[in-house]
Amino acid sequence: MRAFLAGARVQLRFITAYPDMLIPFITAPLFTIVFMLVFKHAGRQDLTAYAAIAPVFIALWWLALFNSGWTITTERWNGTLELLVAAPSSFGAVVFGKIATTTAIGTVSFFESWLVARLIFGATVTIYHWGAFLLTVFATLGAMAGTAVGMAALFVLARNAVTFSNSASYPFYVLGGILVPVSLLPHWVRPLSAVVFLSWSAGLLRATLRAAPIHDFWPHLGMVVLLGACGFAVGLAALRVILVRVRQSGELSTT
């Protein structure tokens, strides 16, 4: 637990130290503007909820791909990976603490979206189902963190992590139905979407922002949790491999 908190605290410090981490918080409101403009131009103010949610997913996913995902690799480049392994605290707990913090901070983007919609377009985002909304948010954050742990571990082990990181944004925005629901995608794509937790999260969040009752809330929430847990499990397994590579083969040494 202390290791988790230590990781969390140092990550908070990194946010002020590295301007790059501000990127999603600058682009989120801009994306909100883009989507709101499109919907306004088309006379579809009823889609405000869509415009408010998508930027949040964009921000959270960006943080996972470009920040959390590189947590362990940057320790390696920094020369601190071996020091972390040699410390008494759990390596995995420290990593998870950092990732959880980054993910949690990502929620600021929701407030940004909401404010932009309100102040610039005079549109409100109304939460009709508070309980479901909060549960979905927590499940989404958990799944995002879990997936990010998977990314963090895999990026160390995989050779083409950089390529993946740079190109895994929009493909997942499409598959995840973060703006346009998955139901509008061609049939052959939908099985792929089903294994991306974003699609279940986005669908649920949109539903909580509509007055109509939510269908199949618990099964859908379950999918978010399940897929996030899978990402986390992959991450844990990969973390173990990393520790072996550090200690047994010495492969990840940079000295």
Binding site: V34, L37, N166, Y170
Partner: protein, 263 residues
């Protein structure tokens, strides 16, 4: 003549750098898939709105935007030079840094233009985009113009931020999304208040994109030509600004010590 030689060698070195990063496989499975997904993501909004007009508007806009986006990556150049340790060497050489930077990045621009055209060619038919023949061929040079124009703009910006190595990524990402907001990529600039439309037309991409849409829609040639002229003006303006100010920014950075050579 020696300037041309500098340009040529800079292009070659830039191209070599580029291909050391990308293999054909990673370009297709990494970059191209992202490009196609990006254009698709926005085109799908048209599907959501159940409007073919909107779909095509968004599709064309975001495909052309890829050229602008790729060109904006030129902002990374000074940082790359810094990382290689070649920035101080470049600044100490007799060649003008801005010429070298402009030339080294040309390969990036070529790639950006090519990606945009591929995006259009792949995603267009999937969404039923009609490409009138042979007018549509004009889209190729016009996309190139947009790419070059965006490149001149980002070279100017690269000079502005050259002293500060930390905010590179931040500026690149912000610039790209700002261009998406302002340049008529997703909504016509005529929707903006007059002052904002004026700003949009000073920026790259705006007029070039309108020219491309005009070509595809069968607009009168006079209107298309006017937009082409607008884009040429923007490109020329940003190029001139870059040539004039790049050296000044460097000297300012050298004078007050803010120009950091180490990455």
């Amino acid at each position: 003549m020696s300037t041309l030689r500098v340009v040529w060698y800079s292009i070659v070195s830039g191209a070599n750098d580029y291909w050391s990063i990308f293999t054909p496989k990673s370009w297709v499975f990494g970059w191209l898939i992202r490009v196609v997904s990006q254009v698709t993501f926005f085109a799908l909004i048209g599907t959501l709105l159940q409007s073919q007009v909107q779909t095509e508007f968004l599709l064309v806009g975001n495909a052309v935007m890829v050229a602008g986006m790729g060109a904006t990556f030129a902002l990374h150049q000074p940082t790359a030079e810094r990382g290689n340790g070649t920035l101080p060497l470049l600044l100490a050489s007799p060649s003008r840094p801005v010429i070298v930077m402009l030339s080294r990045g040309l390969y990036v621009v070529a790639d950006a233009i090519w990606s945009a055209l591929l995006g259009l060619a792949i995603v267009g038919p999937a969404f039923g985009l009609h490409l009138p023949w042979p007018r549509s061929l004009l889209v190729i040079p016009l996309t190139a113009l947009v790419g070059v124009s965006a490149y001149c703009f980002s070279t100017f910006l690269a000079g502005v931020i050259i002293a500060n190595r930390n905010i590179n990524n931040l500026v690149v990402n912000t610039t790209i999304v700002l261009l998406m907001v302002l340049c008529g990529v997703n909504v016509p600039v005529s929707e903006f208040p007059a002052w904002l439309e004026w700003i949009a037309r000073c920026l790259p991409i705006t007029d070039g994109l309108e020219a491309i849409r005009g070509v595809l829609a069968g607009d009168p040639w006079s209107s298309v030509a006017a937009h082409i002229g607008g884009e040429l003006l923007a490109a020329g303006g940003w190029l001139a600004l870059a040539l004039l100010t790049f050296g000044r920014f460097i000297r300012a950075g050298q004078r007050d010590g803010s120009l950091e050579f180490a990455s």
